[in-house]
C-alpha cells in the first residue's frame, strides 16, 4: 500500500484507538454501581439481561462489519487525486443490495422473536395464589408502599420476600413518575388514574437502590427509594414488626417530643398509627409518609438522606433547602423542641 494520506490514516487510527481504550476503560472502571442495570437479581431482570446480551453481541458484530467496511472503503479500496487509473463507477449491484437487506432483516428477526416472547412472558394476566401484592403510590417526591393483605403502610423502603412472586400495583397521586429498581424489576411508569404493574420473583436477598425516572418536577432527582429483598423468615419478621403498635416513650427527650407531635400540625399530613388518627378517605394523615416505624428505616426524605438525628433535624428545620420544592412546610421548630421531636421520631423503631 502506498503511503497515501498518512496524516489522515494516523489520525483516524489514533482516534479509533482512543475510542476503544475508552470503551474498555468504561467496562473496567470501578464500581460499585447501586443502580446497575446489569446485575439482575430477579427472574424479570435476568430475562432482560439475557436479551440485552444477545442484542449487544449482534449490534457489535454489525458495528465491526460497518467499521471494517469503512476502513476498506476509505483506506484500501479507493484512490486519491493524482493516482493513475480510473476509479470505479460501480453504483448498483442487486446481489449486494439484497444481501444487505436480507441479512439485517434476519438479524432483526433473531432479536424480535425473543423480544416478543419476553414481553408476553413478563406481563402475565394471572398470578399464582401465593403472590404478594404490594401497592406503590407515587407522590411528588417520595414513594409510598402499602401491603393490603398484611396491613402495612410505609415509605421510602420496600421489603419483599425472595423466591415468591411479587405483584407491584402502582399508581400516582399527582403527576407521572416512574418506578425504577434496575436489579430487581426494571421500570414502569406510575400514572395517575391508572394502575400499572410489575410482576417478578427476586432471588437474592440484599439491599437494592431505586429511583424515579420520569421527570416529575423540581425535585425529580431527589425521589429515590430502597428495595430490601429479605429471606422469607426475615420478611415475616419485618411484617410482624411493622404491625406492632408504635413505641410510646415515657421519659426523656423522646417523651417530650411526643408531646410536641401532639401539638404540632404534623398529623395533618403524617400518620403514626394509634397516636394520630387518619381519615377513612385518606385525605387526612396521608399527604406525607407514614411515620409509625420511622426510626426503623435506614433512609428518609425520598431516600436521599441517611436516617440520622442530624439529618432529621436538618429536614424538619428547612425541608425546601434539602429538597427544593418539597411540599412539607417549614414548621419554625428549633432548639430543644426540634431535638425532642427528632428524638421522638427516631424512637419510633
Amino acid at each position: 500500500m502506498k503511503p497515501r494520506n498518512i496524516k489522515l490514516k494516523r489520525a483516524s487510527f489514533m482516534a479509533a484507538f482512543l475510542a476503544m481504550a475508552g470503551s474498555l476503560a468504561g467496562c473496567a472502571s470501578g464500581g460499585p454501581y447501586p443502580l446497575d442495570t446489569l446485575s439482575p437479581k430477579s427472574d424479570l431482570t435476568r430475562s432482560i439481561l439475557s436479551l440485552f446480551k444477545e442484542v449487544t453481541i449482534l449490534d457489535s458484530i454489525v458495528l465491526v462489519v460497518v467499521i471494517i467496511a469503512m476502513i476498506g472503503a476509505i483506506f484500501v479500496y479507493s484512490s486519491r487525486e493524482g493516482d493513475p487509473g480510473e476509479p470505479s463507477a460501480m453504483h448498483s449491484d442487486v446481489t449486494l443490495e439484497m444481501l444487505w437487506t436480507v441479512i439485517p432483516a434476519l438479524i432483526l428477526v433473531a432479536i424480535t422473536v425473543p423480544t416478543v416472547h419476553t414481553i408476553i412472558r413478563t406481563q402475565p394476566e394471572t398470578w399464582p395464589a401465593e403472590t404478594l401484592e404490594v401497592k406503590v403510590i407515587a407522590h411528588q417526591w417520595w414513594w409510598e408502599f402499602q401491603y393490603p393483605s398484611l396491613g402495612v403502610i410505609t415509605a421510602d423502603e420496600v421489603h419483599i420476600p425472595a423466591d415468591r412472586t411479587i405483584h407491584f400495583a402502582m399508581t400516582s397521586k399527582d403527576v407521572i413518575h416512574s418506578f425504577f429498581m434496575p436489579s430487581v424489576g426494571g421500570k414502569r411508569d406510575v400514572v395517575p388514574g391508572q394502575e400499572n404493574q410489575i410482576t417478578l420473583k427476586a432471588d437474592t436477598p440484599g439491599e437494592y437502590y431505586g429511583q424515579c425516572t420520569e421527570f416529575c418536577g423540581t425535585s425529580h432527582a431527589n425521589m429515590r427509594f430502597r428495595v430490601f429483598v429479605d429471606t422469607p423468615a426475615d420478611f415475616d419478621k419485618w411484617v410482624a414488626h411493622q404491625n406492632e403498635p408504635p413505641v410510646k416513650p415515657t421519659e426523656g427527650a423522646a417523651a417530650a417530643g411526643a408531646k410536641i407531635w401532639a401539638d404540632a400540625p404534623c398529623a395533618i399530613c403524617h400518620t403514626i398509627k394509634g397516636v394520630s388518627g387518619f381519615s377513612k378517605d385518606y385525605t387526612y394523615g396521608f399527604r406525607g409518609p407514614d411515620l409509625t416505624h420511622f426510626g426503623s428505616r435506614g433512609t428518609m426524605a425520598g431516600s436521599i438522606l441517611k436516617n440520622t438525628p442530624e439529618n432529621v433535624a436538618l429536614w424538619i428545620k428547612n425541608p425546601d433547602a434539602v429538597k427544593p420544592g418539597a411540599n412539607m412546610p417549614t414548621l419554625g421548630l428549633d432548639g430543644a423542641d426540634l431535638n425532642n421531636l427528632v428524638a421522638y421520631l427516631e424512637s419510633l423503631k
Binding site: N5, A15, G22, S23, G26, C27, S29, P34, L35, D36, T37, T45, I48, L51, F52, V55, T56, V66, M70, G72, A73, S78, S79, R80, D83, P87, S88, A89, H91, S92, D93, L96, W100, T101, P104, I111, T115, V116, I119, D174, V175, I176, F180, P182, K187, R188, D189, V191, G193, N196, Y209, Q211, T213, F215, C216, G217, S219, H220, A221, R224
Partner: protein
C-alpha cells in the same frame, strides 16, 4: 408583472446585493430567506450550546449547587427545545432547504415566495416567544416533551408552560407553512425532464420530510390546544379528576414526535447523499433503493411512536406491535448506511472538511442506530428508557448524525452561498476536535445509562459510581463547546475574507453548481432541461458514470455573464411588507395570551386577517388563472391548487386527532351532560343546509366558468348565507347547551364536544370570510373566467369543511347512543 429592483443590473447582481435593511425585511427571495434562517439558527445554536454547557457544569460533580434545581430544569428543557425546533429544523429546512430546493430542481424560486418569507418571520418571533423567559423569568421547565399532567396549572402554576405552549404553536404554523411551500415546489416546479427518479437525493429527502411535517405537526397542535384549554379555560383534557388521562398527551405528542425525529434525520441523509458522491467521484450507490428506503422510513415512522412509551403500561399486545415496527424501520435505514459505504468504495476520494464530516456521520449515526435497536426491544428498554443510555442514543443520531451532516453541508455549500470557501485548515481542526470531544462527551453516557443514571436529574449522589464519567463528560463537553467557537469564527471570517470560489469549486454533480456563486437573484438565465440523474455532471462529462478526470465539455467558470436581453424576460416577484407584518400580528396575539390581555389577542388576529386579505390582493394576477405557471410546471397543475390540497391533507390529521380524542374520551366522561343532550332534529337541519351550501358553491364555480359574473357572484353570496345559517344553528345549539348547564369545562364530553365542533365552526367562519372576499372580488370583475381559480380554491376548502361535518354528524351525533364501539 411586478417591479424589479431599481438601479441594479439584474444580469450582474447577486442575491446578496442591494435593497438595504428594508430589502432584507421585505425580501421574498428564497436565497435571502435562507440566509436569514441560517443566521438566526446559528445564533440559536450558540444559545442552545450554552444551555448544554450549563447543564454539564451543574453535573460535573455530585450534589452540585451551581444551578438551582428549578433553573436546571428550565435549562435542560430549553436545551432540548432550542436544538430541535430552533436549530436543527430551521437549518435543514429553513436554511438548506430554502436555498437549495429551487436551485437543485432548476426553478427560480419556491411556489409561494411571500409565504416563504412569512414562515421565516413567524419562526423568528416564535423563537423569541419561546425564549421570553430569559428576560421576564420563567423559561419552560417541563422538558421539551412537556408531559401532562406535570404541565397542568395545578403542578406548573407559573408562566413557564405558557411560553412553551404558545411558542410551539407559533413555531408549528411556520413549519407547516414552509412544508406546504416546499411540497408544491418540489412536486410541481421541477425543470423539464426532471422526473422523480432524476432528482438529487437531497430533494427526495426534503420532499418526504415536508410530507412528514404536513402530516405530523397537526397532532402536536391538537395536543397543545388541549393543554392550552386546560391551562386557560379550566378544561381537563389530561386530568384524571374528570376521567381523562395524561396518557393522551403522550400519544398525541409521540404520534408527532417520532415523525419529528425523521423530519430531522431525513434531510441529513439527503445532505450526505450529496456530499459523498462528489468527493468520491462516483455516483450515489443504489439510487432507487435509497429513494424507496426514504419513503419506507417515512411511512413506517407513523407506526412506531409507542416505542417512546414502552414503560407506560400499554400492555403486551401494544408493546409487541411497536417493538416489531420499530425493528422493521431499521431495515431501510441499514440499506442507506451500506449504500453510503458502497458509494465511497472504489472511488477517488478527496478529504475536504465536508467529506470528513460526511464520513464521520456514517460511523456516528450507525452507533446511534445500533443503540436504537436495543431500545426497540421493549424489555431491554425497561432498563434503558429514561436513563443516560437514551441520552447517548439520541445525541449520537442527532449530533453525531444530523448535526455532522449539517456541518458537512455547511462546508460544501458555503462557497455557493457567498462565493467564498470556508477555511479548510480551520475546518479540519474543527472536524477532529469535534469528533474527538463529541465521542468523549457522549460515549460514556452509554456506561452511565447502564449503571442506572436517570435522565433529567439536576444532581446525583456521590456513591452511585457516576462521578468519574460525569466529570469526564463535562470537561469534554466544554472542549466540544470551544471547538464550535472555531466553527463560528470560521464562518464569520470566511464570509468576508475567504478564498474566492467560482460556480463549481468542487466539480460537483447537480444543477446548483451550474450557476454563479453567489447565485444571481433569478437563479437560472434559462430554465435547464434535464435528461438524466446528476444532470450537471452529465452535461460536463457526458455520462453519469464518468470519473470526471477527463476534459469538461462545458466549463461554467468560463460562461459569459447573462446579457440584459436574456434577463429582461425573467419575472421576479416584488418584495412585500406583509409577511413581517403578519408575523408581528401573530406574535401580538400570542403575547396577548401570555399576559392575559385578550384585547391584544383580538387586535393581533384582526391585524392578521387584514394583512392576509390585503396580501392576497397585492399581486395583480390575484384570482387570475396563471396559464404561464401551469404550462411551465412539471405536472401541468396550478401551484395554488396543489397548495390547497396539501393544506387539506394536513387538516385531515388535525381533525383526526380531535375526533380520536372525542371517540376515546366519550366513554370516560363522568355524569351529565352527555350525548343525550344533542339535538338531532336541529343538527339534521344544519347538515342539510351545509350540504346545500356545497351545491351552491359548485353552481357559483360553474357560473364563473361560463363567464356569467352575475350568477357566479349570486351563488357565492348564497353559499356564504347558507354558511351563516349553519353557523347560526351552531350558535343556537351552543347557547341552548349553555343554558342547560353544559359549560365548556363541565365534563369530558362537553369539552371534547365544544372543542371539536367549535373548531369545525371556526373553519366554517373562515370559509365564510373567504367566500365574501371572493364574492366581492367577483363583483369587481377580478375573477378570471377560464378556470376561475380563486373560486375553485375557496370551493375546495368549503367542500372539505362540509366533508368533515359529514364525519362529525355521523360519529358524534348519529352514533350518540354508542358509548363504546
Amino acid at each position: 408583472m411586478a417591479a424589479q429592483p431599481k438601479a441594479l443590473h439584474l444580469e450582474q447582481a447577486n442575491y446578496l446585493e442591494g435593497g438595504g435593511i428594508y430589502g432584507w425585511l421585505t425580501t421574498i427571495d428564497h436565497k435571502r430567506i435562507a440566509v436569514l434562517y441560517g443566521i438566526s439558527a446559528l445564533v440559536l445554536m450558540a444559545l442552545g450550546g450554552t444551555e448544554a454547557m450549563l447543564v454539564r457544569a451543574q453535573l460535573i460533580v455530585p450534589n452540585n449547587h451551581f444551578l438551582s434545581a428549578d433553573f436546571y430544569n428550565q435549562i435542560f428543557t430549553m436545551h432540548g427545545l432550542t436544538m430541535i425546533f430552533l436549530v436543527l429544523m430551521p437549518l435543514e429546512t429553513g436554511f438548506f432547504g430554502n436555498f437549495l430546493i429551487p436551485l437543485q430542481i432548476g426553478a427560480r424560486d419556491v411556489a409561494f415566495p411571500r409565504l416563504n418569507a412569512l414562515s421565516y418571520w413567524i419562526f423568528l418571533l416564535g423563537a423569541i416567544a419561546l425564549n421570553l423567559g430569559w428576560i421576564f423569568g420563567g423559561l419552560p421547565n417541563g422538558g421539551w416533551f412537556g408531559y401532562a399532567n406535570l404541565t397542568e396549572r395545578a403542578y406548573a402554576p407559573g408562566i413557564n408552560i405558557d411560553y412553551y405552549d404558545i411558542g410551539l404553536l407559533i413555531l408549528g404554523v411556520s413549519s407547516v407553512m414552509s412544508a406546504l411551500n416546499f411540497f408544491v415546489t418540489i412536486v410541481n416546479m421541477r425543470a423539464p425532464g426532471m422526473t422523480f427518479m432524476r432528482m438529487p437525493m437531497f430533494i427526495w429527502a426534503l420532499l418526504v420530510t415536508v410530507i412528514l411535517i404536513l402530516l405530523a405537526f397537526p397532532a402536536l397542535t391538537v395536543g397543545l390546544i388541549f393543554l392550552f384549554a386546560d391551562r386557560y379555560f379550566g378544561s381537563h383534557f389530561y386530568e384524571v379528576i374528570a376521567g381523562a388521562t395524561p396518557m393522551l398527551w403522550q400519544h398525541l405528542f409521540w404520534i408527532f414526535g417520532h415523525p419529528e425525529v425523521y423530519i430531522m434525520a431525513l434531510p441529513a441523509f439527503g445532505m450526505i447523499s450529496e456530499v459523498l458522491p462528489v468527493f468520491s467521484r462516483k455516483p450515489l450507490f443504489g439510487y432507487p433503493m435509497m429513494a424507496y428506503s426514504i419513503i419506507l422510513i417515512a411511512f413506517l415512522s407513523y407506526g412506531v411512536w409507542g416505542h417512546h412509551m414502552f414503560a407506560t403500561g400499554m400492555g403486551p399486545v401494544a408493546d409487541s406491535a411497536f417493538a416489531i415496527t420499530s425493528m422493521l424501520i431499521a431495515i431501510p435505514t441499514g440499506v442507506k448506511v451500506f449504500s453510503w459505504i458502497a458509494t465511497v468504495w472504489g472511488g477517488r476520494l478527496r478529504f475536504t472538511t465536508a467529506m470528513l464530516f460526511a464520513l464521520g456521520f456514517i460511523l456516528e449515526f450507525t452507533i446511534g442506530g445500533l443503540s436504537g435497536i436495543m431500545h426497540a426491544s421493549a424489555p431491554i428498554d425497561l432498563e434503558q428508557t429514561d436513563s443516560y443510555f437514551i441520552v447517548a442514543h439520541f445525541h449520537y443520531v442527532l449530533f453525531g448524525g444530523v448535526l455532522m451532516a449539517i456541518l458537512a453541508a455547511f462546508y460544501y455549500y458555503f462557497p455557493k452561498i457567498c462565493g467564498r470557501f470556508m477555511n479548510e485548515t480551520v475546518g479540519k481542526w474543527h472536524f477532529w476536535l469535534t469528533t474527538i470531544f463529541f465521542n468523549c462527551t457522549f460515549f460514556p453516557m452509554h456506561f452511565l445509562g447502564e449503571w442506572g443514571m436517570p435522565r433529567r436529574i439536576y444532581t446525583y449522589a456521590p456513591d452511585m459510581g457516576w462521578n468519574f464519567w460525569n466529570k469526564f463528560e463535562s470537561i469534554s463537553a466544554f472542549c466540544l463547546g470551544a471547538s464550535f467557537l472555531l466553527f463560528f469564527a470560521n464562518i464569520a471570517w470566511s464570509w468576508f475574507n475567504g478564498e474566492h470560489a467560482g460556480a463549481d469549486p468542487w466539480d460537483a454533480r447537480t444543477l446548483e453548481w451550474s450557476i454563479p456563486s453567489p447565485p444571481p437573484i433569478y437563479n437560472f438565465v434559462k430554465v435547464p432541461v434535464v435528461h438524466s440523474r446528476d444532470a450537471f455532471w452529465v452535461e460536463k462529462y457526458g455520462d453519469v458514470e464518468a470519473s470526471g478526470l477527463g476534459e469538461k465539455r462545458v466549463n461554467v467558470e468560463f460562461l459569459p455573464p447573462a446579457s440584459p436581453e436574456e434577463v429582461a424576460g425573467i419575472h421576479i416577484p416584488a418584495a412585500s411588507l406583509y409577511p413581517i407584518l403578519m408575523a408581528g400580528a401573530i406574535f401580538l396575539a400570542g403575547l396577548g395570551m401570555l399576559v392575559g390581555w385578550f384585547r391584544l389577542v383580538f387586535m393581533g388576529l384582526g391585524l392578521l386577517a387584514f394583512c392576509a386579505i390585503a396580501m392576497s390582493f397585492e399581486y395583480r394576477e390575484w384570482g387570475e388563472d396563471n396559464p404561464h405557471q401551469v404550462s411551465e410546471s412539471f405536472l401541468g397543475l396550478d401551484n395554488r391548487k396543489l397548495g390547497v390540497w396539501s393544506f387539506i391533507g394536513s387538516e385531515c390529521v388535525f381533525f383526526a386527532s380531535l375526533i380520536s380524542t372525542f371517540m376515546v374520551y366519550k366513554s370516560r366522561s363522568i355524569g351529565v351532560p352527555d350525548a343525550q343532550i344533542l339535538n338531532i332534529p336541529l343538527t339534521s337541519f344544519s347538515t342539510f343546509i351545509l350540504l346545500m351550501s356545497s351545491l351552491l358553491m359548485v353552481l357559483a364555480l360553474a357560473g364563473f366558468q361560463r363567464n356569467n359574473r352575475f350568477w357566479g357572484t349570486f351563488w357565492l353570496f348564497g353559499t356564504a348565507v347558507f354558511g351563516l345559517i349553519f353557523l347560526g344553528g351552531q350558535v343556537y345549539e351552543f347557547g341552548s347547551f349553555y343554558h342547560e348547564g353544559m359549560l365548556y369545562n363541565s365534563n369530558l364530553f362537553s369539552q371534547c364536544f365544544y372543542t371539536l365542533v367549535g373548531f369545525h365552526g371556526f373553519h366554517v367562519f373562515i370559509g365564510v370570510v373567504w367566500l365574501i372576499t371572493v364574492a366581492i372580488a367577483g363583483m369587481k370583475g377580478k375573477i378570471g373566467s377560464k378556470r376561475a381559480l380563486s373560486v375553485e380554491l375557496c370551493g375546495l376548502y368549503w367542500h372539505f369543511v362540509d366533508i368533515v361535518w359529514v364525519v362529525i354528524f355521523t360519529l358524534i351525533y348519529l352514533m350518540r347512543t354508542i358509548n363504546r364501539a
